[in-house]
Amino acid sequence: MSDHDPIDDWLSTDVELLSPVPGTFDRIHRRARRRKALTATTTALGAAVVIAAAVVLPQAVPGLLPGHATIPSKIVDSSKPSPSGHHEQTKRPKPPAFAGPASLSPPAQSSIAGSDYRPPSGFAATSVTFISGEIGAALGDATGDKAACKDSSCTAIAGTSDYGQSWFAIDAPPAGPPDGSSGVSQVRFLNGSYGWAYGPQLFATSDGGATWTQVEGLPGRVIDLATVNGRAYAVVAVCGGQGRDFAADCTSFALYSSPAGSGTWRQVRGAAAHLPVKPGALQLTDTNGYLLAGPVLYAGSSSGGSWAAVKISSGTVPSCLDGRGRQAVAGESGVLAPVNPGSSLYLSCQSATGEPVIYQSADGGQSWQSDGRAGLAGLITSLAVAPASDTLVAATTSGLYYSADGRTWHQASVSGKLPAGGFSFAGLTTEYQGVAVPAGSAVRRIYITSDGGQTWQAASI
C-alpha cells in the first residue's frame, strides 16, 4: 500500500474562502426577521380560505363505509417512484422554476417565511389561507406560465407577509392542478412550519413549504382540510367528479385526523357515512369541530376523540337538516360558520333558486332559531364569523354581505366592477381583516377588507 493518504491530503488542504455576493447579509437579515415573526405566530382560526365551486350531487355508489376500519396512511418521499397500484400517484409534474433572479434548487428552498423570488407571472390562485393578520399563502396553477412550467402543468404557491399586498414564491409540491383523482388545488398552514396541500391528493410540509412529502394510503380524495390545536383534519371522500371538479359527485366520506408532523392519519370515529359532502363542510374552532354532510351535522372535539351526528333536541329544525322525524327539504343545502370560542353556530340553508335562511344555534347544533329570510341576493357560498366579535360576512354568487348580529344584513362595498359569478369565499382572519375570493376555478386577484367586511379592496396576486 502507498504512503499517500488522499483522506489526509484532502483534510489538510485549507478551505478556500468564498466571499458573499453584495447584498447577501441584507437579504439574510430580512428573511430571518420574517421567520422570527412567524415563530411567534399562533394559529388563527377562520382564516382558511377556499376557492372551490365544485357541484355536489347526491348519488349512492359504494365507497367509504361508516365505521370503516382505520386505514393507516404513510408519508412518502415525493421524489421517489410511486408504488405500483397507486394510480393516483403516477402524475408527478416537476415543480415550477419560479421567475426571479435565478431558479431555486434545494437545499435553499423557499418557505412561507419568505423568499426573494416572485410567483410565476401566469400564476392563478385556487386557494388562499392566512395564519395571522400578516402572513398567508396562496396555491394555484402556474400552467399558463411557459417559463415556469415548460410543457407540463404544474402547481405554484405564493406567500405574503403583508396580508396580500405583495407576494413571493414558495416551493410547491410536485403535483399538477386537480384532474379527477390527481393533483392539488388547496393549501392550509397550521403555523409557519406545518402545512398541507390537498385536493384531491395530499402533501405535507413541516418546514413552511420549503419541502413537501406526499401522503399516501388514504381511501379517497381529500376534498377538505382544516387545522387547529396542532392537528389537521381531512375529509376523505369517494367522488366521481372529473377534471377540476374533483370534489363533485361525492357520495361517501370519512374524517381523518393527524397530529402535525406525525405523518400518521387515523380515521375519526363517528364521522363517516354514505352521504354527500362538499368542500367547506369541515369547520373547526379551538374547542369544537363540525362537519356538514348532506342533511346531517357531525360534531366532536377538535383536539381528538370521537365525533357523532348531532341530534336536534328541540325548537326549529333548519330546512337543510334532518331532525326530530323530519327530513331536510329536497334540494336545500347548508353552509356552516362556527363561532370561536364557544358552541355557537350559524347555518345558512338555501335551495339553488331560493333565498337563504340563516339559523343560529347556541349549543352546537342541538337547537336552532331563525328570524326568517336574511335578504341576501344570490346563492350563499361562504359564511364566516369574526374572531372575538359577532361580525359575520357572507359571500354569495351576487356579492359580499356583512352583519353585526346575523339577523340584519348589509351589502358590502366592493372596489371596481363586481366579479362575474360573485364570490366563492369570504372569511375574517381578525376582527377587522378578511379576504374574499371571486368565483371561478382560478383567479388572479382577491379582495381584502380591513373594516370587518364593510368595504373590500382588490389586490393582485
Partner: protein
C-alpha cells in the same frame, strides 16, 4: 465567542463578515459548486439569525445546519445520479465519460453512514473538538470518538478499494 442579543444587527453583521467566507468555502468544498455553496451558507445564516437570542454557540449552530443542508444536497444529487445512471444504462451506444482517476474523497465521505459523516465533517473538516462535536450532536464523547475512528477506518478501506 460573539454574544448574540435580540435585534443586534451590528453583532449579526460582524458574525456574518467573520464566518460567512469560510463557511461558504467549506460548503463549496463539499458540494463542488459556488452557487449551491452560497445557497447553503445563506440558509444556515438565515436560520441562525431567526433564532438570534436562543443560541449559546452560533458558530457550532452554523456548521451543524450547514452539515445537514449539505447532507440534503448530497441526498438529492445522489438520486439524480441514480436516475441518470439508470437512463444511461439503457443507452450503451454513448461511450462512458470518466472523471479523474484520482480518488474522489468527497464522494467517499458522502457514502459514509449519516451518523459517522456528521461527526467526521464537524471534527476533521470544520475543526471542532470532540467535546464540542459531542455537544452539537447530542452524543457522549466516547461515542463520537468511536464514530470518528470508524469513519476513518471506512474511508481508508474505501480508498483501498478505489486504488
Amino acid at each position: 465567542m460573539v454574544q448574540l442579543r435580540s435585534g443586534d444587527r451590528e453583532a449579526a453583521e460582524e458574525l456574518f463578515n467573520a464566518c460567512y467566507p469560510r463557511l461558504a468555502g467549506w460548503c463549496r468544498r463539499l458540494v463542488d459548486d459556488d452557487e449551491t455553496a452560497h445557497e447553503i451558507a445563506s440558509e444556515a445564516f438565515t436560520r441562525l439569525l431567526s433564532r438570534w437570542s436562543k443560541l449559546d454557540n452560533p458558530q457550532s449552530y452554523l456548521y451543524m445546519i450547514a452539515t445537514n443542508l449539505v447532507r440534503d444536497h448530497w441526498r438529492k444529487t445522489s438520486r439524480e445520479r441514480r436516475a441518470i445512471k439508470t437512463f444511461t444504462a439503457s443507452t450503451p451506444e454513448e461511450p462512458a465519460w470518466h472523471q479523474s482517476e484520482d480518488v474522489d474523497v468527497r464522494a467517499l465521505i458522502e457514502e459514509l453512514p449519516p451518523k459517522l459523516r456528521s461527526a467526521f465533517l464537524l471534527h476533521y473538516y470544520a475543526g471542532f473538538g470532540v467535546k464540542e462535536v459531542a455537544t452539537m450532536l447530542g452524543r457522549p464523547e466516547g461515542t463520537v470518538k468511536a464514530d470518528l475512528h470508524h469513519a476513518r477506518a471506512r474511508l481508508k478501506a474505501a480508498v483501498g478499494e478505489h486504488a
